[in-house]
Amino acid sequence: MAAATKPHTARWDARKTRSLLTGLAFISPAIVGFLLFAAWPILQSFYYSFTDYNIFQPPYWIGLQNYQDLVSDRVYGIALRNTLYMVLIGLPVHLLFDFLMALLLATRIRGLSIYRTIFYLPSITPVVASTIVWLWLFNGQYGVLNEIVGLFGFSKIGWLTDPAFTKPSLIFMGMWFGGNTILIYLAGLRDVPTSLLEAAELDGANALRKTWHVTLPMISPVIFYTLIINVIGYFQYFTEAWVLTATRDGAAGGPLNSMLFYAMYLYQSAFQQFKMGYASAQAWVLFAVVLLATGLLFRFSGWVYYRSEE
């Protein structure tokens, strides 16, 4: 038996190896690309985070100095706080708004596809172009928003010039870009079994109770997904704030640095102040923070209901 089995196994192994090699050859461009352009730079940046590195000269080992400097860096603290503001306040506001929009767009009314298209349109407009338009909507003197505010008898608001209003303005503007999340919620809403909704209706549930007790639990995995993706995205908040605040000589951050976000300060440290090591340390701290945030979300994800568990 053994003698008969052995050649069989060997033949099988050889074929398996060949097939593995062929498979690897097929995906080799992706593997090589990942190793060269993602894994290697990531590892390098970890090393650089322990060095003083200005890109022109070889890195100089300084141990944990960069990480210690972060603790006492006042501007870094501002950038971190601004970013947390967006994650803790901006993100929930956006997700709630997007969910409500999706609920509206899921109703059966005439011309629904037109509304859906309209709400999705901003998502296919380049962010930079839309942001420039918003720059003018927010304009203190001629902006449409201040015209509207004026109609209600309020004085003009410095949307982008008053530090108290800058971040709320960004959150307000962000609702414009919600098309993708709305689309994901819409898909989730279509998946809510009508039988459950009908059963709730028979039990006398009104629209609010149906949403709370049936729709929300049924699409909770979708909400959880958008939450995770957007938490990561908000920690990397950059483009809109950069476009709104960048000046002719490359400075950015708005009045009193009230729109200076983590990724912007990281960029400034690296490419405007030649501090690659310091920027790498910031990147790794950001990675740790995002990892922690994502981990906590998973740890406390008991509210997410998966139908497959039934």
């Binding site: 022109f56 304009n139 203190g140 003197q141 410095g158 010039t161 530090p163 009193l256 405007q272």
Partner: protein
């Protein structure tokens, strides 16, 4: 039977193909890149040195420089071909390109204030020997410019344009409020009074016109007699009492008008490089500019009458004060054909070429002879700019490696004080201590 060989062939064939493809890519990566000819320009002839030149100029200034580049190319047929690209607003690209080992051959997108920083970090090649060989010894230049390009006994580049700082005003508006346009203010107190009389509000109390909104501490700090760096002791002196006084004075204009209203008013300004410039449309009766603004005015507001005055100064301050910065033509480290790069810089620095470009964009030529030509100084506004730059109170950036941080922290301090968040003293103490800490680090690590 027929299937098996086919399958084997295809697997082997595929692997061979991948191998050959990989080898071809590796070969392609090793090949010397042939720079593509930009649209509308002839390709470089074989044997010609092809120079990529990155400039910070844009708009009509870029077009004027392109004319000169075309002239250079025509004069150097079969030898050198220069292809110019603008990196306006993205100077950090220069740094990345140099560090990445693929630098442009010549770059002028380097602010004078960054020159020492880039040179000290090994990002540039010195041009000392080239200059010596070309008998360029500085005698033709304004002395403070020539001095500004040296660091550690090496020359790091040359400027072909330079700028002064002046206050532009519209005589008609001064006359409107009863001031004598021929005798603009000399002292900062007189400037305050004039600016105030020029301010206009609408019925709702919104600003319609300001006299002047002074900003830019590196200039006003000098006008008030202050300094930012003590080179002998390697100390940041941004909290010099005279700089503090300058910032308090700048902020007093916003406090009088209310910072919120000023911010709203400024956010309504049109594009700077256009007919909608706030000065041209009369929203600012006076504005801080340089002699280059003459060309802007000719282009965007040809009928407007505009005059210049030197910065009015307080007791104990400096008269006829200007600061200067500007684009330095440099050769990045690691360039393949530095001789050709130098030839381009040398050629542009010839009095004739420098004069032509400076005249077309109305900048002051850094060489004395072209700057004294009649076509420049027949305009009294230009003569003022030349006098300021050639005077005792023309200040270049301090030669130290953390100017970028100093300038950004000064701008932040201005913003904080303008908004009433901090006192000028607190804000500048903070700048001094934070920038000093960074400077100490850089100096300590060499």
């Amino acid at each position: 039977m027929s299937e098996q060989p086919t399958r084997q062939w295809s697997r082997r064939g595929f692997l061979q193909m991948v191998g050959m493809g990989g080898a071809a890519m590796a070969l392609a990566a090793c090949a010397v890149p042939v720079a593509p000819a930009p649209a509308g320009q002839p390709a470089a002839e074989s044997g010609q040195a092809f120079l990529n030149y990155w400039t910070g100029w844009s708009g009509f200034e870029f077009d004027e420089l392109q004319k000169l580049v075309d002239k250079f190319n025509a004069e150097h047929t079969d030898q050198i071909f220069v292809n110019m690209t603008t990196v306006f607003g993205q100077y950090e690209k220069v740094l990345t390109a140099i560090a990445g080992g693929n630098p442009p051959d010549v770059v002028s997108a380097v602010w004078l204030r960054e020159l020492v920083s880039m040179a000290a970090r090994g990002g540039l090649q010195p041009v000392t020997q080239y200059a010596e060989a070309a008998a360029i010894d500085g005698s033709e230049y304004f002395p403070q410019f020539w001095d500004a390009w040296w660091h550690n006994e090496e020359l790091w580049g040359l400027m072909v344009t330079s700028n002064s700082q002046v206050v532009a005003y519209q005589p008609a508006l001064l006359a409107e409020v009863g001031a004598d346009p021929a005798n603009p203010p000399k002292s900062s107190a007189e400037l305050d009074a004039l600016a105030q009389s020029l301010e206009k509000m609408d019925a709702d109390g919104n600003i319609e016109r300001v006299g002047l909104l002074p900003a830019g501490l590196t200039w006003w700090g000098r006008v008030f007699g202050g300094s930012f760096y003590d080179a002998a002791n390697q100390k940041i002196t941004a909290n010099d009492p005279k700089v503090v006084a300058a910032l308090e004075w700048e902020a007093s204009f916003r406090q009088r008008l209310s910072p919120e209203k000023v911010a709203a008013f400024q956010s309504g300004f049109g594009d700077y490089m256009s007919t909608q410039n706030s000065f041209f449309v009369g929203k600012e009766a006076m504005t801080q500019v340089g002699e280059w603004f003459i060309q802007f005015q000719k282009k965007f507001a040809p009928d407007l009458v505009m005059e210049f005055m030197p910065a009015p100064y307080p007791d104990g301050g400096n008269d006829n004060t200007t600061t200067f910065d500007g684009s330095v033509f440099t050769i990045p480290a690691g360039v393949q054909a530095p001789d050709a790069s130098w030839e381009f810089i040398r050629w542009l620095s010839e009095a004739e070429n420098m004069g032509e470009f400076c005249y077309n964009i109305q900048n002051v030529p850094p060489k004395l002879a072209p700057a004294s030509e009649d076509r420049f100084v027949s305009d009294p506004r230009f003569q003022l700019a030349v006098n300021l730059l050639n005077g005792p109170h023309a200040f270049g950036p301090d030669k130290m490696p953390v100017n970028s941080l100093l300038y950004s922290r000064l701008a932040e301090a201005e913003s904080a004080v303008f908004n009433g968040q901090m006192s000028a003293q607190e804000a500048l103490d903070q700048v001094a201590s934070e920038v000093q800490a960074e400077l100490d680090k850089v100096l300590q690590r060499g």
